[in-house]
């Protein structure tokens, strides 16, 4: 099926089989392998991408359902190559080790902080219940998110 979507600000016209998930479409048709896949049934969060402003499971969204949508992947966060304040905070706090979960957590937190730059630690923890990280123990991730709030509060979209 023919679909047209905008990925990280660039238009993409594709022909995909209906069974292709958005995550597979991004990885295989567009070469955006920053989006990771692990469980492929919605429990781990590695595949999280932002569709029309909302963080969603890339493995539980069909590419054909994203026809006409604006999609942001982890590659789209640091648009000009420089790390975003959220990514800088991840580095400072050691909020990643192997990095497998990181793309999904960055996109999740970017959507969350864009919606609510004043989000409290308890809500950040609740949101992270949707992302599995086997390395960090989550504490540095929460600390990085708390620190990044300031950049989102200053207005605008710190990722762009």
């Amino acid at each position: 099926m023919k679909i047209a979507l905008t990925v990280n600000g660039r238009p993409a016209a594709l022909d995909v089989a209906p069974r292709t998930t958005l995550a597979d479409c991004l990885r295989h048709a567009l070469g955006l392998t920053g989006t990771h896949l692990a469980c492929e049934h919605g429990v781990c969060g590695a595949c999280t991408v932002i569709v029309d402003g909302a963080a969603v499971r890339g493995c539980l969204t069909l590419a054909v359902q994203a026809d006409g949508a604006e999609v942001t992947t982890v590659e789209g966060l640091a648009g000009d190559g420089a790390l975003t304040p959220l990514q800088e905070a991840f580095r400072r706090h050691h909020a990643l080790q192997c990095g497998f979960c990181t793309a999904g957590i960055l996109t999740t937190l970017h959507a969350l902080l864009t919606e609510n730059p004043d989000v409290e630690a308890c809500e950040i923890r609740e949101v992270l219940s949707g992302n599995i990280c086997r390395c960090t123990g989550y504490i540095p991730i929460v600390e990085a998110a708390l620190e990044a709030r300031a950049a989102y509060r200053r207005g605008g979209d710190p990722a762009q």
């Binding site: 492929e40 049934h41 919605g42 969060g45 969603v56 539980l60 999740t108």
Partner: protein, 291 residues
Amino acid sequence: MKLPAFDYACPETLDEATALLAEAGGDAKVIAGGQSLLPFMAFRLAAPSLLVDLRKIAGLDGIEVADGEIRLGAMVRWRDILDSAALARALPLLPAAIGHVAHYQIRNRGTLGGSLAHADPASEFPCIAVLCGASVDVVGAGGHRTIPADELIAGPMETTLEDDEIIVAVRFPRWPEGRRWAFDEFALRHGDLAIAAVAAAYDMDGPHIAHARVAVMGATDTPQRVPPAEDALNGRAPDDDTFGAAAAAASAAIEPTEDLHAGAAYRRALVGTLLRRALAESCAREREAAE
């Protein structure tokens, strides 16, 4: 696992959608948020030949809080329920329960229509619909009908919907002023499916409880009301003794399910503990509001 192959249609009207479903004669499935159907397909628990997407059909979204009833479109997402200030005032039990559904990213896509049709015994929305006596409006190729929520749910993952029927809306009766409510749940991790959960609502008639409703989910093969627990509440004062009696009645009355996560005896005990705790909290909330 990758999904099995299927055809995909994205009709713009209910007529087209029900016609496609009728034509496929049971081989097709509706897709709303996809947050239950796609995992089922990944596990090969479902392999429909055609998916009929509801996303372009107008009129399936929207939360309307009117004088007599609250109408929720079938495509209302968990996210919309949690963001609605009007619902938080008119039916606070609903957002309190939906706060236990899945995770942030899943709540951005999962819908209440999908949850009802999926009929997982551990899902919150069907339980609240049963507790509140909600009505479910459905449309099929042959016309529309309204089904009481407890008649829609036929068993675990089983409903009385026909193959060509689509849920369009769910209607909840408005609550009287001052109705109290209770909800509590136990899951292994926040957002996981419940091992057991309880919901309750009641009015105060002077010093006594009236119109009590109690429902259990996760611990039984369908979400269901528990009349012995309701009887233990009605006409009594809302105190620890009454709540303890209701909890014991609920534990005794249910037929608990067993699985990998919990045995029947554990679930039976858990239901009592959760109900006593939730009812006590319904009073504490009242006291806090009064202060």
